[in-house]
Protein backbone atom coordinates (compact mmCIF):
# COMPACT_ATOMS: atom_id res chain seq x y z
CA UNK A 1 0.00 0.00 0.00
CA UNK A 2 1.35 3.41 -0.94
CA UNK A 3 0.39 6.40 1.20
CA UNK A 4 1.66 9.91 1.53
CA UNK A 5 3.45 10.80 4.74
CA UNK A 6 0.64 13.37 5.11
CA UNK A 7 -1.74 10.51 5.97
CA UNK A 8 0.36 9.39 8.94
CA UNK A 9 2.04 12.47 10.30
CA UNK A 10 2.10 16.23 10.66
CA UNK A 11 5.09 18.47 10.24
CA UNK A 12 6.33 21.95 11.20
CA UNK A 13 9.13 23.80 9.47
CA UNK A 14 11.39 26.32 11.15
CA UNK A 15 14.30 28.33 9.84
CA UNK A 16 17.59 29.72 11.10
CA UNK A 17 19.33 31.47 8.22
CA UNK A 18 19.88 28.89 5.49
CA UNK A 19 19.22 25.96 7.83
CA UNK A 20 15.71 24.51 7.90
CA UNK A 21 14.27 22.41 10.69
CA UNK A 22 11.48 19.94 9.95
CA UNK A 23 9.82 18.13 12.82
CA UNK A 24 7.57 15.17 12.05
CA UNK A 25 4.97 13.80 14.47
CA UNK A 26 2.84 10.70 13.87
CA UNK A 27 -0.88 11.24 14.46
CA UNK A 28 -0.84 7.84 16.19
CA UNK A 29 2.08 7.29 18.58
CA UNK A 30 2.04 3.62 17.51
CA UNK A 31 3.33 4.69 14.07
CA UNK A 32 6.53 6.13 15.52
CA UNK A 33 8.64 2.96 14.96
CA UNK A 34 7.39 2.86 11.37
CA UNK A 35 8.51 6.45 10.83
CA UNK A 36 11.88 5.72 12.44
CA UNK A 37 12.30 2.83 9.98
CA UNK A 38 10.99 4.49 6.81
CA UNK A 39 11.72 8.17 7.18
CA UNK A 40 15.49 8.09 7.14
CA UNK A 41 17.66 11.17 6.70
CA UNK A 42 18.61 9.85 3.25
CA UNK A 43 14.98 9.57 2.15
CA UNK A 44 14.23 13.07 3.34
CA UNK A 45 17.36 14.36 1.63
CA UNK A 46 16.38 12.65 -1.63
CA UNK A 47 12.78 13.88 -1.50
CA UNK A 48 13.88 17.48 -0.88
CA UNK A 49 16.94 17.25 -3.18
CA UNK A 50 15.95 20.26 -5.28
CA UNK A 51 15.51 22.36 -2.14
CA UNK A 52 18.23 21.18 0.25
CA UNK A 53 21.84 21.34 -0.89
CA UNK A 54 23.63 20.17 2.23
CA UNK A 55 23.50 17.52 4.89
CA UNK A 56 20.27 16.35 6.53
CA UNK A 57 20.70 15.31 10.17
CA UNK A 58 17.95 13.31 11.87
CA UNK A 59 17.29 13.42 15.61
CA UNK A 60 15.14 10.68 17.10
CA UNK A 61 13.08 12.00 19.99
CA UNK A 62 11.13 9.02 21.38
CA UNK A 63 10.11 10.94 24.49
CA UNK A 64 8.38 13.58 22.35
CA UNK A 65 7.35 10.95 19.75
CA UNK A 66 8.99 13.01 17.04
CA UNK A 67 11.62 12.86 14.34
CA UNK A 68 13.48 16.12 13.89
CA UNK A 69 15.37 16.86 10.69
CA UNK A 70 17.93 19.64 10.46
CA UNK A 71 18.52 20.47 6.80
CA UNK A 72 21.66 22.43 5.94
CA UNK A 73 22.20 24.72 2.97
CA UNK A 74 18.62 25.19 1.92
CA UNK A 75 18.77 26.16 -1.75
CA UNK A 76 18.17 29.88 -2.21
CA UNK A 77 18.08 29.92 1.57
CA UNK A 78 18.80 32.79 3.87
CA UNK A 79 15.60 34.68 4.54
CA UNK A 80 17.15 38.00 3.71
CA UNK A 81 18.83 37.61 0.33
CA UNK A 82 16.86 34.71 -1.18
CA UNK A 83 15.21 35.07 -4.58
CA UNK A 84 12.70 32.33 -3.80
CA UNK A 85 9.01 33.11 -3.34
CA UNK A 86 9.01 31.48 0.10
CA UNK A 87 12.19 33.04 1.44
CA UNK A 88 11.85 31.33 4.82
CA UNK A 89 11.37 27.80 3.48
CA UNK A 90 8.18 27.52 5.50
CA UNK A 91 6.48 25.44 2.79
CA UNK A 92 9.15 22.72 3.09
CA UNK A 93 6.97 21.10 5.77
CA UNK A 94 4.20 20.41 3.27
CA UNK A 95 6.70 19.33 0.64
CA UNK A 96 8.02 16.73 3.05
CA UNK A 97 4.48 15.49 3.77
CA UNK A 98 4.08 14.72 0.06
CA UNK A 99 6.72 11.98 0.44
CA UNK A 100 5.23 8.60 -0.56
CA UNK A 101 5.66 5.62 1.75
CA UNK A 102 5.29 2.02 0.59
CA UNK A 103 3.81 0.19 3.53
CA UNK A 104 3.09 -3.44 4.13
CA UNK A 105 -0.29 -4.14 5.69
CA UNK A 106 0.27 -2.13 8.85
CA UNK A 107 -1.89 -3.90 11.35
Amino acid sequence: MRVLLHELAHCRAGDKGNTATLSVFPYDDADYPLLVRELTADRVRAHLASHVGGEVVRYELPNLVALHFVCHQVVDGGVTTSLALDTHGKTLSSRLLSLPLDLEDRR
Partner: protein
Protein backbone atom coordinates in the same frame (compact mmCIF):
# COMPACT_ATOMS: atom_id res chain seq x y z
CA UNK B 1 2.97 29.37 52.31
CA UNK B 2 2.47 27.38 49.13
CA UNK B 3 5.02 27.22 46.35
CA UNK B 4 5.25 30.49 44.37
CA UNK B 5 3.37 30.69 41.11
CA UNK B 6 3.09 33.29 38.40
CA UNK B 7 1.15 33.77 35.17
CA UNK B 8 2.85 35.12 32.05
CA UNK B 9 1.13 35.83 28.75
CA UNK B 10 2.27 36.17 25.18
CA UNK B 11 0.88 39.25 23.45
CA UNK B 12 2.70 39.21 20.08
CA UNK B 13 4.78 36.65 18.21
CA UNK B 14 6.10 38.86 15.42
CA UNK B 15 6.11 42.48 14.32
CA UNK B 16 2.91 42.17 12.31
CA UNK B 17 0.94 40.23 14.89
CA UNK B 18 -2.69 40.92 15.79
CA UNK B 19 -3.43 43.15 18.78
CA UNK B 20 -6.93 41.97 19.80
CA UNK B 21 -5.77 38.70 21.45
CA UNK B 22 -3.34 40.66 23.63
CA UNK B 23 -6.12 43.04 24.70
CA UNK B 24 -8.24 40.02 25.59
CA UNK B 25 -5.43 38.49 27.67
CA UNK B 26 -4.94 41.75 29.58
CA UNK B 27 -8.65 42.09 30.27
CA UNK B 28 -9.44 38.55 31.29
CA UNK B 29 -6.39 36.43 32.10
CA UNK B 30 -5.22 38.03 35.38
CA UNK B 31 -1.66 38.11 34.12
CA UNK B 32 1.39 39.11 36.12
CA UNK B 33 3.45 39.78 32.99
CA UNK B 34 2.74 40.24 29.28
CA UNK B 35 5.58 39.79 26.77
CA UNK B 36 5.49 41.09 23.19
CA UNK B 37 8.11 39.62 20.83
CA UNK B 38 8.22 41.76 17.70
CA UNK B 39 11.80 41.74 16.43
CA UNK B 40 12.85 39.49 13.54
CA UNK B 41 16.49 39.11 12.53
CA UNK B 42 16.66 41.82 9.91
CA UNK B 43 14.04 44.13 11.44
CA UNK B 44 16.73 45.67 13.61
CA UNK B 45 18.93 46.39 10.57
CA UNK B 46 15.99 48.14 8.90
CA UNK B 47 15.45 50.07 12.13
CA UNK B 48 19.11 51.07 12.12
CA UNK B 49 18.61 52.48 8.61
CA UNK B 50 15.68 54.58 9.78
CA UNK B 51 17.65 55.76 12.80
CA UNK B 52 20.50 56.93 10.59
CA UNK B 53 18.02 59.05 8.67
CA UNK B 54 16.27 60.33 11.82
CA UNK B 55 17.84 59.81 15.29
CA UNK B 56 14.41 59.78 16.98
CA UNK B 57 13.30 56.67 15.07
CA UNK B 58 14.60 53.13 14.68
CA UNK B 59 12.17 51.45 17.08
CA UNK B 60 9.21 49.32 15.98
CA UNK B 61 6.96 51.59 13.85
CA UNK B 62 3.88 49.97 15.42
CA UNK B 63 5.02 50.55 19.01
CA UNK B 64 2.65 53.42 19.71
CA UNK B 65 -0.31 51.74 18.01
CA UNK B 66 0.17 48.67 20.16
CA UNK B 67 0.87 50.50 23.39
CA UNK B 68 -2.08 52.89 22.96
CA UNK B 69 -4.31 49.81 22.97
CA UNK B 70 -2.46 47.83 25.64
CA UNK B 71 -0.86 50.10 28.23
CA UNK B 72 -4.02 51.76 29.55
CA UNK B 73 -5.29 48.29 30.48
CA UNK B 74 -1.94 46.90 31.62
CA UNK B 75 -1.15 49.80 33.94
CA UNK B 76 -4.68 49.85 35.36
CA UNK B 77 -4.49 46.15 36.14
CA UNK B 78 -0.89 46.09 37.31
CA UNK B 79 0.38 43.86 34.52
CA UNK B 80 4.07 44.34 33.78
CA UNK B 81 4.93 44.53 30.07
CA UNK B 82 8.22 43.40 28.50
CA UNK B 83 8.93 43.88 24.80
CA UNK B 84 11.77 44.08 22.28
CA UNK B 85 9.95 46.77 20.26
CA UNK B 86 12.86 49.10 21.07
CA UNK B 87 14.57 47.49 18.07
CA UNK B 88 17.43 49.76 16.95
CA UNK B 89 16.56 52.56 19.39
CA UNK B 90 15.28 51.42 22.81
CA UNK B 91 15.92 54.87 24.34
CA UNK B 92 13.67 56.62 21.81
CA UNK B 93 11.08 53.85 22.21
CA UNK B 94 11.22 54.31 25.97
CA UNK B 95 10.79 58.07 25.62
CA UNK B 96 7.77 57.60 23.35
CA UNK B 97 6.30 55.14 25.85
CA UNK B 98 6.96 57.60 28.69
CA UNK B 99 5.09 60.34 26.79
CA UNK B 100 2.18 58.01 26.17
CA UNK B 101 1.97 57.12 29.87
CA UNK B 102 2.17 60.80 30.85
CA UNK B 103 -0.65 61.52 28.42
CA UNK B 104 -2.91 58.92 30.04
CA UNK B 105 -1.86 60.03 33.51
CA UNK B 106 -0.05 56.84 34.46
CA UNK B 107 2.85 57.00 36.95
CA UNK B 108 4.17 53.64 35.68
CA UNK B 109 7.96 53.43 35.27
CA UNK B 110 9.52 52.70 31.90
CA UNK B 111 12.92 51.08 31.49
CA UNK B 112 14.98 50.91 28.29
CA UNK B 113 17.55 48.12 27.98
CA UNK B 114 20.55 48.92 25.77
CA UNK B 115 23.96 47.48 25.08
CA UNK B 116 23.06 45.05 22.30
CA UNK B 117 24.44 47.43 19.65
CA UNK B 118 28.08 46.30 19.28
CA UNK B 119 28.75 47.73 15.82
CA UNK B 120 31.43 50.14 17.08
CA UNK B 121 33.50 47.41 18.75
CA UNK B 122 32.90 44.44 16.45
CA UNK B 123 35.89 42.89 14.64
CA UNK B 124 34.67 42.94 11.02
CA UNK B 125 37.43 40.56 9.98
CA UNK B 126 35.90 37.81 12.12
CA UNK B 127 34.41 34.94 10.10
CA UNK B 128 30.64 34.67 9.59
CA UNK B 129 29.15 31.50 11.08
CA UNK B 130 27.20 30.87 7.88
CA UNK B 131 30.05 30.67 5.36
CA UNK B 132 33.34 31.35 7.13
CA UNK B 133 34.04 34.48 5.08
CA UNK B 134 35.03 37.66 6.93
CA UNK B 135 32.00 39.72 7.96
CA UNK B 136 33.18 42.75 5.96
CA UNK B 137 33.40 40.67 2.77
CA UNK B 138 29.60 40.42 2.62
CA UNK B 139 29.01 44.10 1.93
CA UNK B 140 28.75 47.39 3.73
CA UNK B 141 27.95 46.55 7.37
CA UNK B 142 25.04 48.61 8.72
CA UNK B 143 24.25 46.98 12.07
CA UNK B 144 25.58 44.51 14.61
CA UNK B 145 23.48 43.47 17.57
CA UNK B 146 24.36 40.95 20.24
CA UNK B 147 21.64 38.71 21.62
CA UNK B 148 21.42 39.85 25.25
CA UNK B 149 20.10 37.50 27.94
CA UNK B 150 17.74 37.69 30.90
CA UNK B 151 20.53 39.18 33.02
CA UNK B 152 20.37 42.36 30.91
CA UNK B 153 16.67 42.83 31.80
CA UNK B 154 17.06 41.93 35.46
CA UNK B 155 18.21 45.38 36.75
CA UNK B 156 15.15 46.97 35.13
CA UNK B 157 12.88 44.58 37.01
CA UNK B 158 14.81 45.11 40.25
CA UNK B 159 14.30 48.86 39.83
CA UNK B 160 10.56 48.32 39.69
CA UNK B 161 9.97 48.98 35.99
CA UNK B 162 6.39 48.44 34.83
CA UNK B 163 7.19 48.59 31.11
CA UNK B 164 10.52 47.27 29.80
CA UNK B 165 11.57 48.10 26.25
CA UNK B 166 14.61 46.35 24.80
CA UNK B 167 16.48 46.05 21.54
CA UNK B 168 17.98 42.70 20.58
CA UNK B 169 17.44 40.21 23.38
CA UNK B 170 17.12 36.47 22.79
CA UNK B 171 13.39 35.77 22.48
CA UNK B 172 13.12 33.29 25.38
CA UNK B 173 15.09 35.66 27.63
CA UNK B 174 12.23 38.18 27.40
CA UNK B 175 10.15 35.60 29.28
CA UNK B 176 12.82 34.06 31.50
CA UNK B 177 13.70 37.40 33.12
CA UNK B 178 10.22 38.25 34.50
CA UNK B 179 9.58 34.59 35.42
CA UNK B 180 12.83 34.32 37.37
CA UNK B 181 12.21 37.67 39.03
CA UNK B 182 8.71 36.69 40.17
CA UNK B 183 9.68 33.20 41.29
CA UNK B 184 12.92 34.10 43.05
CA UNK B 185 15.07 32.05 40.70
CA UNK B 186 18.82 32.46 40.41
CA UNK B 187 19.61 33.03 36.73
CA UNK B 188 22.91 31.21 37.28
CA UNK B 189 21.02 28.01 38.14
CA UNK B 190 20.81 26.04 34.87
CA UNK B 191 17.76 24.06 35.99
CA UNK B 192 15.68 27.20 36.57
CA UNK B 193 17.03 28.89 33.48
CA UNK B 194 16.14 25.81 31.43
CA UNK B 195 12.58 25.69 32.78
CA UNK B 196 12.00 29.38 32.09
CA UNK B 197 13.62 29.15 28.66
CA UNK B 198 11.27 26.34 27.63
CA UNK B 199 8.30 28.48 28.64
CA UNK B 200 9.73 31.42 26.69
CA UNK B 201 10.46 29.32 23.64
CA UNK B 202 6.91 27.94 23.65
CA UNK B 203 5.25 31.33 24.16
CA UNK B 204 7.45 33.55 21.98
CA UNK B 205 5.44 32.94 18.79
CA UNK B 206 2.13 33.65 20.53
CA UNK B 207 -0.69 32.13 18.44
CA UNK B 208 1.60 29.48 16.97
CA UNK B 209 1.22 27.62 20.28
CA UNK B 210 -2.56 27.82 20.34
CA UNK B 211 -3.37 26.51 16.88
CA UNK B 212 -2.11 29.26 14.61
CA UNK B 213 0.01 27.86 11.77
CA UNK B 214 -1.40 24.40 12.54
CA UNK B 215 -4.73 23.88 10.76
CA UNK B 216 -4.91 21.37 7.89
CA UNK B 217 -8.63 20.85 7.15
CA UNK B 218 -9.75 17.28 7.67
CA UNK B 219 -6.43 16.33 9.25
CA UNK B 220 -5.67 18.93 11.89
CA UNK B 221 -8.84 20.94 12.45
CA UNK B 222 -8.65 24.04 14.62
CA UNK B 223 -11.93 25.40 15.98
CA UNK B 224 -12.56 29.12 15.70
CA UNK B 225 -9.30 29.94 13.93
CA UNK B 226 -10.60 33.42 13.04
CA UNK B 227 -10.87 34.21 16.78
CA UNK B 228 -7.52 32.64 17.67
CA UNK B 229 -6.60 33.29 21.30
CA UNK B 230 -3.03 33.76 22.52
CA UNK B 231 -1.42 31.57 25.20
CA UNK B 232 -0.33 32.08 28.77
CA UNK B 233 1.62 29.89 31.18
CA UNK B 234 1.22 29.29 34.89
CA UNK B 235 4.71 28.59 36.14
CA UNK B 236 5.57 27.37 39.62
CA UNK B 237 8.82 27.68 41.55
CA UNK B 238 9.87 24.12 40.68
CA UNK B 239 9.75 24.98 36.97
CA UNK B 240 6.51 23.20 36.16
CA UNK B 241 4.58 25.04 33.44
CA UNK B 242 0.89 24.71 32.76
CA UNK B 243 0.02 26.23 29.40
CA UNK B 244 -3.44 27.62 28.84
CA UNK B 245 -5.62 29.98 26.85
CA UNK B 246 -8.75 31.94 27.67
CA UNK B 247 -12.18 30.36 27.50
CA UNK B 248 -14.35 31.62 24.62
CA UNK B 249 -11.38 32.15 22.32
CA UNK B 250 -10.72 30.19 19.17
CA UNK B 251 -7.76 27.95 18.58
CA UNK B 252 -6.41 24.76 20.04
CA UNK B 253 -3.84 24.03 22.70
CA UNK B 254 -2.91 20.36 22.65
CA UNK B 255 -0.02 17.93 22.92
CA UNK B 256 0.30 18.24 19.13
CA UNK B 257 0.41 22.05 18.98
CA UNK B 258 2.86 22.17 21.88
CA UNK B 259 5.20 19.59 20.36
CA UNK B 260 5.23 21.40 17.00
CA UNK B 261 6.19 24.65 18.71
CA UNK B 262 8.69 22.97 21.02
CA UNK B 263 10.96 21.89 18.15
CA UNK B 264 10.35 24.96 15.97
CA UNK B 265 13.70 26.41 14.82
CA UNK B 266 15.68 24.10 17.14
CA UNK B 267 18.87 23.06 15.36
CA UNK B 268 20.02 20.72 18.14
CA UNK B 269 17.35 19.33 20.52
CA UNK B 270 20.06 18.28 22.98
CA UNK B 271 21.85 21.62 23.04
CA UNK B 272 19.81 24.72 22.26
CA UNK B 273 22.10 27.67 23.00
CA UNK B 274 20.60 30.85 24.43
CA UNK B 275 22.45 33.62 26.31
CA UNK B 276 21.06 32.12 29.54
CA UNK B 277 21.51 28.36 29.27
CA UNK B 278 22.29 25.40 27.04
CA UNK B 279 18.93 23.66 26.93
CA UNK B 280 18.26 19.95 26.47
CA UNK B 281 14.68 19.30 25.30
CA UNK B 282 14.96 15.55 24.84
CA UNK B 283 13.50 14.47 28.18
CA UNK B 284 10.60 16.91 28.28
CA UNK B 285 7.19 15.54 29.17
CA UNK B 286 4.18 17.12 27.42
CA UNK B 287 0.88 16.08 28.98
CA UNK B 288 -2.66 17.20 28.18
CA UNK B 289 -4.67 18.16 31.25
CA UNK B 290 -8.12 18.54 29.83
CA UNK B 291 -9.29 20.95 27.15
CA UNK B 292 -6.74 23.59 26.09
CA UNK B 293 -4.44 22.86 29.02
CA UNK B 294 -1.03 21.24 28.66
CA UNK B 295 1.57 20.52 31.34
CA UNK B 296 5.26 20.74 30.44
CA UNK B 297 8.00 19.43 32.75
CA UNK B 298 11.47 18.00 32.57
CA UNK B 299 13.69 20.66 30.98
CA UNK B 300 17.39 20.03 31.49
CA UNK B 301 19.96 22.81 31.42
CA UNK B 302 23.71 23.19 31.33
CA UNK B 303 25.56 26.44 32.20
CA UNK B 304 25.17 29.33 29.77
CA UNK B 305 27.64 29.73 26.86
CA UNK B 306 30.68 32.00 27.26
CA UNK B 307 30.02 33.68 23.93
CA UNK B 308 27.02 35.59 22.62
CA UNK B 309 25.64 35.44 19.11
CA UNK B 310 25.74 38.67 17.12
CA UNK B 311 23.41 39.36 14.21
CA UNK B 312 25.17 41.49 11.57
CA UNK B 313 23.29 43.40 8.88
CA UNK B 314 24.87 44.35 5.56
CA UNK B 315 23.72 46.01 2.37
CA UNK B 316 23.01 43.12 -0.01
CA UNK B 317 21.75 45.17 -2.96
CA UNK B 318 18.36 45.71 -4.53
CA UNK B 319 15.88 42.93 -5.23
CA UNK B 320 13.15 42.92 -7.84
CA UNK B 321 10.27 40.48 -8.20
CA UNK B 322 8.06 40.64 -11.31
CA UNK B 323 5.13 38.39 -12.23
CA UNK B 324 2.65 37.85 -15.06
CA UNK B 325 -0.22 35.35 -15.47
CA UNK B 326 -1.24 33.06 -18.35
CA UNK B 327 -4.57 31.24 -18.24
CA UNK B 328 -6.38 28.52 -20.15
CA UNK B 329 -5.29 25.99 -22.78
CA UNK B 330 -1.50 25.89 -23.29
CA UNK B 331 -1.02 28.35 -20.40
CA UNK B 332 2.06 26.49 -19.14
CA UNK B 333 3.84 26.63 -22.50
CA UNK B 334 3.06 30.32 -22.97
CA UNK B 335 4.40 31.05 -19.45
CA UNK B 336 7.57 29.07 -20.16
CA UNK B 337 8.03 30.89 -23.49
CA UNK B 338 7.58 34.22 -21.72
CA UNK B 339 10.32 33.21 -19.26
CA UNK B 340 12.63 32.28 -22.12
CA UNK B 341 11.98 35.65 -23.80
CA UNK B 342 12.79 37.57 -20.61
CA UNK B 343 15.94 35.47 -20.08
CA UNK B 344 17.10 36.23 -23.61
CA UNK B 345 16.44 39.96 -23.21
CA UNK B 346 18.38 40.03 -19.91
CA UNK B 347 21.30 37.99 -21.26
CA UNK B 348 24.57 39.89 -21.12
CA UNK B 349 23.45 42.22 -18.33
CA UNK B 350 25.37 40.24 -15.73
CA UNK B 351 22.18 39.54 -13.80
CA UNK B 352 21.45 35.96 -12.72
CA UNK B 353 17.67 36.09 -12.51
CA UNK B 354 15.56 33.33 -10.98
CA UNK B 355 12.86 32.46 -13.50
CA UNK B 356 10.07 30.07 -12.55
CA UNK B 357 6.50 29.18 -13.46
CA UNK B 358 4.03 28.64 -10.63
CA UNK B 359 0.63 27.05 -10.80
CA UNK B 360 -0.73 24.96 -13.66
CA UNK B 361 -3.40 23.85 -11.22
CA UNK B 362 -6.56 25.93 -11.02
CA UNK B 363 -6.67 28.37 -8.16
CA UNK B 364 -9.69 29.32 -6.11
CA UNK B 365 -10.58 32.99 -6.09
CA UNK B 366 -13.30 35.25 -4.82
CA UNK B 367 -14.30 38.88 -4.67
CA UNK B 368 -16.41 38.63 -1.55
CA UNK B 369 -16.09 37.00 1.83
CA UNK B 370 -16.34 33.32 0.96
CA UNK B 371 -13.89 31.46 -1.24
CA UNK B 372 -15.97 29.09 -3.41
CA UNK B 373 -14.99 25.57 -2.41
CA UNK B 374 -14.92 23.17 -5.34
CA UNK B 375 -14.59 25.97 -7.87
CA UNK B 376 -11.50 24.33 -9.26
CA UNK B 377 -13.31 21.13 -10.19
CA UNK B 378 -16.17 22.97 -11.87
CA UNK B 379 -13.90 25.09 -14.01
CA UNK B 380 -10.70 23.24 -14.81
CA UNK B 381 -8.93 26.20 -16.40
CA UNK B 382 -5.21 26.06 -15.78
CA UNK B 383 -3.53 29.18 -14.45
CA UNK B 384 0.20 29.79 -14.58
CA UNK B 385 2.18 32.65 -13.16
CA UNK B 386 5.64 33.48 -14.44
CA UNK B 387 7.90 34.90 -11.74
CA UNK B 388 11.24 36.57 -12.36
CA UNK B 389 13.41 37.68 -9.42
CA UNK B 390 16.87 39.20 -9.34
CA UNK B 391 19.29 40.79 -6.89
CA UNK B 392 22.02 43.29 -7.73
CA UNK B 393 23.85 46.24 -6.25
CA UNK B 394 23.08 48.08 -9.51
CA UNK B 395 19.64 49.53 -8.86
CA UNK B 396 19.05 50.67 -12.45
CA UNK B 397 19.92 47.21 -13.74
CA UNK B 398 17.49 45.61 -11.32
CA UNK B 399 14.74 47.92 -12.57
CA UNK B 400 15.18 46.57 -16.10
CA UNK B 401 13.89 43.17 -14.92
CA UNK B 402 10.56 44.74 -14.05
CA UNK B 403 10.50 46.60 -17.33
CA UNK B 404 11.14 43.43 -19.33
CA UNK B 405 8.35 41.53 -17.59
CA UNK B 406 5.94 44.42 -18.08
CA UNK B 407 6.97 44.61 -21.75
CA UNK B 408 5.58 41.08 -22.22
CA UNK B 409 2.19 42.79 -22.51
CA UNK B 410 2.95 43.79 -26.10
CA UNK B 411 6.20 41.91 -26.81
CA UNK B 412 5.52 38.43 -25.44
CA UNK B 413 3.25 35.39 -25.84
CA UNK B 414 -0.53 35.68 -26.16
CA UNK B 415 -2.83 36.44 -23.29
CA UNK B 416 -0.49 37.55 -20.52
CA UNK B 417 -2.06 39.66 -17.75
CA UNK B 418 -1.77 40.88 -14.19
CA UNK B 419 1.80 42.16 -14.15
CA UNK B 420 3.04 43.09 -10.70
CA UNK B 421 6.51 44.45 -10.02
CA UNK B 422 8.03 44.97 -6.59
CA UNK B 423 11.53 46.10 -5.76
CA UNK B 424 13.46 47.35 -2.78
CA UNK B 425 16.74 47.40 -0.94
CA UNK B 426 17.78 44.16 0.77
CA UNK B 427 19.59 43.99 4.08
CA UNK B 428 21.41 40.67 4.41
CA UNK B 429 22.09 39.06 7.77
CA UNK B 430 25.07 36.99 8.86
CA UNK B 431 26.13 36.12 12.39
CA UNK B 432 29.19 35.70 14.53
CA UNK B 433 30.08 35.01 18.17
CA UNK B 434 31.74 37.41 20.59
CA UNK B 435 32.93 37.03 24.21
CA UNK B 436 30.22 37.81 26.73
CA UNK B 437 32.65 40.14 28.51
CA UNK B 438 32.76 42.48 25.52
CA UNK B 439 29.04 43.27 25.80
CA UNK B 440 27.91 45.80 28.40
CA UNK B 441 24.13 45.93 28.87
CA UNK B 442 22.65 49.01 30.53
CA UNK B 443 19.25 50.08 31.84
CA UNK B 444 17.82 53.59 31.57
CA UNK B 445 14.86 54.31 33.85
CA UNK B 446 12.23 56.80 32.71
CA UNK B 447 9.99 57.63 35.62
CA UNK B 448 6.94 59.83 35.46
CA UNK B 449 7.88 63.40 34.41
CA UNK B 450 11.54 62.47 34.61
CA UNK B 451 14.16 60.56 32.65
CA UNK B 452 17.43 59.79 34.32
CA UNK B 453 20.08 57.23 33.46
CA UNK B 454 21.20 54.64 35.98
CA UNK B 455 24.01 52.12 35.98
Amino acid sequence: MSTPRTRIGSGAGFAGDRVEPAVDLLNRARLDDLVLECLAERTIALGQQRRLADPDTGYDPRLLDRFERLLPIATARGVRVVTNMGAANPIAAGAQTRRLLDRIGSPATVAAVTGDDVLASLDLDAPALEDGRPLRAHGEIVSANAYLGADAIWPALDAGADVVVTGRVADPSLFLAPLAHRLGWDLADPASAAAGTVVGHLLECAGQLTGGYFADPGYKDVPGLAELGFPFADVTGDGTARLGKLPDTGGLLSRATVREQLLYEITDPGAYHTPDVVLDLRQLAVTEQGRDAVLVTGAVGRPRPDRLKVSVGYRAGHRVEAEISYVGPNADRRAVLAGEVVAARLAGTGLAPRIEVHGAVPVAASQGAAIPVGWAEDAPVPECRLRVAALSHDRALVETVGHEVEALYTNGPAGGGGVRVRSGEVIGIVSTLIPRSSVRPAVTLMEAADARPTA
